[in-house]
């Protein structure tokens, strides 16, 4: 059996998920990057809810086409980035979207060798 190199696993991270109307995703990403996020992933989705009856003019001003922004952030910066994204997306306005933050058990990505050597191993 071929041995595999060990994976550098990062902990103390949060995943912020933000669902906004199509076209607003880039604004949210820009705000998150300004606040210290290292990257973001954006994809399209379709939303449904009370918009048909309660929001907008006859429900037509709230688009069902959504953009979902995923951002993994360190726990200590999570609240700051979350709040900046919230304000950028204007989520205090009814019908603009929603966002949530969930703790990550672990995550892994490319870690440069010098960085891995500098911080050593934590068991």
């Amino acid at each position: 059996m071929k041995g595999r190199e060990e994976i550098i696993v990062l902990t103390d991270a949060m995943l912020i998920t933000c669902v906004v109307q199509r076209g607003a995703g880039q604004t949210v990403v820009d705000a998150a990057m300004e606040a210290g996020a290292q990257g973001a992933t954006v994809f399209y989705a379709q939303g449904t809810g009370v918009r048909d009856k309660r929001l907008g003019v006859l429900g037509v001003t709230i688009t069902a086409e959504k953009e979902v922004v995923l951002i993994a952030v360190p726990s200590d910066q999570a609240d700051h980035i979350f709040e900046r994204m919230y304000l950028a997306a204007k989520l205090d306005t009814p019908g603009m979207g929603m966002m949530y933050m969930s703790p990550l058990e672990k995550m892994a990505t490319y870690v440069p060798q010098d960085l891995a050597a500098r911080y050593g191993r934590h068991d």
């Binding site: 954006v42 994809f43 703790p103 058990e105």
Partner: protein
Amino acid sequence: MFRKIWPPAMVDTTNRLPPQHTEHRLITCIMPAGRGIHILERLQQEKGIVSASVHHARGVSTSSLGQRQFYFAEKQLVVALVEAERADEIFDFLYHACGIKEKLAGMIVMERLWRAAPLALARSQPPFDSEEC
């Protein structure tokens, strides 16, 4: 002759529902576009994981901005629902299979779930074609 419509018949769904709390993990893997469907096939054939899906996304990072890339990197996301006992094994498998260790390749994250219901297969339907293995 007349069908009784009220009160509605109570259907016992106790045995059909998943437990109130299950030990499952959600693994999300963000990788360059083009690898997703192969990863799904490998998950199914090598690990027997069928509760997984793939979709497209666009990615942006400080690295790509630093290199003055004025276009978005096309990405694919594989999302897999796995039992907690096998979560680490599947996490490692996806890490290597998706090539996450390469620079700017993407990342993989694992979340704890409160309640989950994995994809149920028919009894006669094997989770994967055993002849292919």
